[in-house]
Amino acid sequence: MKTQLRNGLQTGLAFWLISAFLFLIGFTDTAAVLFGDIIHDEDLRPGFGLTTGMVNMLFFLGLLGIWAGARAARAARAPGEALAAGIAAGLVHGLGVGGLAWLVGTLHESKVRMSTYLAQLLPETIQLFVLEKAPAEAAAWHFVLLLATGFAGGLLGFFLGRPGWREAIAAGWRQLSSHAGSLSTLQRIRASRAFGPSLAVLGIIVLFTLPLRLDQYWNYTLGTVGIYVLLGLGLNIVVGLAGLLDLGYVAFFAVGAYTVALLTAPAPHKLLWSFWVALPIGVLLAALAGVLLGIPVLRMRGDYLAIVTLGFGEIIRILSRSDILTGFTGGPKGVLNIGGPQFMPRLFSNEINFLYLILLCVFLAIFITVRLQHSRIGRAWEAMREDETVAGAMGINTLQYKLLAFAIGAAFAGLGGVLFASRNQFTGPEDHNLMVSINVLAVVIVGGMGSIPGVIAGAFVLKGLPEVLREMEDYRIVLFGALLVIMMLIRPEGLLPSSRRKLEVHQQDPNQPDEPIRGRL
């Protein structure tokens, strides 16, 4: 019982912090809008002087409360224990959030302008949070809501979490799937040799007809997703296959973007070359940059490599916006009017056609990656990732393969940069900041290191989903950060992991001692 109460109190405290944080960054507002979009509840007429927005906000808080209760009751063995844990969590959570509501409400009533210091605490956000009621009343609402949901969550978590239930659900699912699987036609279709290829052909047909049916905005978004797939595939080779954590990946992206920019734009060099000439040059230069960066850092591993590549990326960014290179790269203002691809006049001039070009490049990259991954080179990379020393002992020239990984990864990034700059017809230092590297890293990590479907899924989730949930725009990057941590905590192999990686992460690496042997302070 004591442990249950302690669990409850700790969970309540943690969830209070989470709820308070979400309110302080203004997420309660956003959540209300999001739920409103999902439920379409204009006709809902709640009583008690509540608006639909408030109900949505309370609904969101209630979900948090249920989660808190369920989480608190995770170790409960009897309904009573679960109840105690849930109530304890609800009590702390409710008291905390209620207290916050009271405090904020009181300050708001005495006309303190909190948004000077806490940027998101605009009057509307506060009004919504205190339900346009007196501070004490609002506090009571929050307290009762969170206590009740904590109680409910405790019970719910207990009953749903019971092994019996879990087994029953799992058995039901197995039966269902085996039943569905045993349907003769379905089984025959899946077993036939044409299944895979025809699925691929179907996918390609859908992908290539889709752009025609979509408007410009969605084509643009899909194009961005495509470019991130490209970047992700490149970084996947470096990080996922070869196991080299590169935080300066944006440097190669920048090389590609600036190459096409300087070669095709009217200013600052007035070269006005064709896009088709600039494209391979950009890719080659990026690959060259990859090799050049790779040579000095060849002997490093892990953390140091990450820091050095980060340093290189920052050096490039600082140089590109400093005055000394303004004459050459356009300085902080960037390069305008970058040329686009032209092939049989005007064929590639609009968004739709550009999307086709991006899709082509993505398919090319996927093809190259698949062939590489299953070749001698790919196996060498994976061996190197697992254990460099052993890989070297097995006769793999690790230096050479590292350089190759850097070069190919950089070439993909260069291609991405060429496409990105040419599509936007603009590139500047702000397009090439650290966040690009982090975004791409997040794509690879969330999708699953070393897995091609994973990278594609990651790009859709991280670059496509935020476009669908426009309200989430402000929270995107903070979510990326949280997501990187959460993925590492609960699913380090990613959403769609490669089978090998999955095994590896869940198995204690026998070569990895529990701790390094020796250190010094």
């Binding site: 490093m300 890293l441 990057i477 903070v478 590492m488 529990d514 250190g519 302070l521």
Partner: protein, 368 residues
Amino acid sequence: MKKFVPYLTQKPISTYHIIQIVLGIIFSVYLLWRLYQVFIANPTYGPDTWARFAISGIVLGSVYALIAIGYTLVYGILFMINFAHGDVMMIGAFGGYFVFEALSFVPSPTPANPEEVFLNAHPIISVILAFAVGVSVSALSGYLLERVAYRPLRNAPRLVPLISAIGASIFLQNAAQLLFGAQRRDYTNPEQITRGQGWGIPIGESTVILTYTGVLTFVLSILIMLGLYLLVKRTRLGRAMRAVAENKSTAALMGINVDRVISQTFIISGALAGAAGVMWGIHLGLVFHFVGFLPGIKAFTSAVLGGIGNIPGAMLGGLFLGMVETTGPAILGIDFQLKDVIAFSILVLVLIFRPTGILGEVLSEEKA
């Protein structure tokens, strides 16, 4: 103590070493030539300017040193780079900022000035309060960081906690941006230690100002570093920390609670970063969500320079980097815009050519 080096592990001199030596000689010659140019052949700056550079370099360096110690402590114990350490410093800077802001609204009338505010009436208490709050919030966030993002991953492959740390850093930066807004804020110092004011020291025909904030920062950071050194060398906790750094399982067998020591290490390193953050605010005056990034990287550079895992090394590295950053552009004759490039270049060069740092131990290849 002379280490026993087995005959077979002595590597022959490779091309890599030759390149290293040649590059080193070329760079040293260039540096000497530049020094000759700047100081003797055609001095562009007078001694007063150099004094200014040196003063601001030392003050900046002492802040870097404080942050660097945090990196070194954590690296010494967990062998991981605490990527979010700079952001812990940012949190401390915000803590101090809010204390000063709040105190500048608290009335504290004196006979001389009935509209006096607490901040100016009691500057010493205000500064102490600012440091207390900044240090506590940073220590707390250091503790939470370890608890949430690092502890569950202690036995995971090395890439995993590193990515988690990067994620935590991004999270903290952007959470701060959402919470406090993206604008840059000015620290409101007590008027007794207004930025830029100080004792004038005549050098040559002009006077160099030794700012109050600079002296405060430098003295305080030296005191903190001394305290930390004593803590690590003399106290029970320090001994436990050294034992854990040496070997976790043996330390555990000796009755040391390893988890608790690691937590305490993060609390100490967070507290140091918090103090550095408040100093940063008081001395340089600007605080915003991204304020921890560059000092973080530079402090890491200092830690690497001094040999990561080595506390006196981190202090020296910090002071050295501060000096290089302020005097480097003048000595090398490049634009002051590029002072960050110098810091990054040092980082890259040291990691490439001497990853053990200047005072560092010889790390095994596995760790480097």
